[in-house]
Symmetry: C2
Subunit: 199 residues, 2 copies
């Protein structure tokens, strides 16, 4: 998994830092491509970092959640994930649907932050590469709500990309409507974060 960071002009502090989390570990994942596209499409004052995890496998870098192992200090991979969440003003999640559910690896990552609370009040948008992932979307919405994340409805969009492998360049350059959807989602996140930070 590649970490894509689009910085604002050098030396400037970006206004908003977004952590992008893919629920798929596939190299050719359309959900991961969607997040890379969001990184490229982001406006200048927004930094989008794709969560790579301690070993580059994203959410797959987290060990299976075991409350017995949730000690102080936290396991390194768990600490990485929690620190990445803490440092982010907002989170964008893109995930496939497996067997009418959330990918286990993604849910497992979230299991590690239920008690520690890094998702509390965190603005979160759900991006989807398939309009058919309705079960995963619904389940993820329920999970994020109960851990007190702040789901941004107007930033949770579907950019259908199923059926072939696309990289972010194709997504953005060949489909202006996809770019527009992504940009409006990012603008909606930015609006929520701006209100949060000025309150």
């Amino acid at each position: 998994m590649t970490t894509v960071i689009i910085e604002a002009s050098e030396g400037d502090e970006p206004i908003m830092r977004v952590l992008a989390i893919s629920g798929s570990l596939r190299a050719a994942s359309t959900n991961s491509a969607l997040l890379r596209a969001a990184a490229v499409a982001a406006p200048e004052d927004v930094t989008v970092t794709i969560f790579a995890g301690s070993d580059g496998r994203g959410v797959g870098s987290l060990p299976p959640f075991n409350p017995d192992e949730d000690g102080d200090p936290a396991l390194p991979a768990v600490k990485d994930f929690r620190d990445a969440l803490t440092a982010a003003d907002a989170v964008v999640i893109a995930c496939p649907e497996y067997a009418h559910g959330v990918p286990g690896a993604l849910k497992n990552a979230l299991d590690w932050v239920v008690a520690s609370g890094e998702m509390v009040d965190k603005p979160v948008a759900l991006l989807h590469a398939s309009s058919r992932s309705t079960y995963a979307r619904e389940a993820l919405t329920e999970i994020l709500t109960v851990i007190s994340a702040r789901l941004i409805e107007e930033a949770s969009v579907t950019v259908p990309l199923t059926g072939k492998t696309l990289d972010e360049a194709e997504v953005i350059l060949e489909r202006p409507e996809s770019l527009a959807v992504l940009r409006s989602a990012l603008a909606a996140i930015e609006a929520v974060v701006a209100v949060s930070t000025t309150q």
Copy 2:
């Protein structure tokens, strides 16, 4: 995680082999205790094996599901899980609810058998150690249904054990009503398996 095998009288072939899968990795998990209790409560002609996984961590032994790594031969931990399912006449799952969802580690294990099909037509019962796990139960029912498992409604029971650590001996010896619930669940599974194998 301990593997508990209650064999029928020596030399006899047990009539029914049940694989018991815990959704919790905690040493003091009430769901795991419930499965050990089921093993002890099982009638003579039933073998209940608790899934230990290739490294003793149960569902936590499976790597994060990645379709890119789902090749031939399968990864050893994945093969172990699939072989254990294939060898079982029925499956019993007991899992906690994390953040209104199925534990990620359990869902991850199931993600590995969606395409390979070991759960197709497999009789499955859901045991619960808490009557409050309604979201996890509903989500798991949806997941198992879509992968064509055969959910045994009358064997899916709740044996409330929350609030303290119990081992199987306490469960069985101190609560005859819990034992009765477990035995009726096992009898219901056995009835379904008996009908399947004589068809």
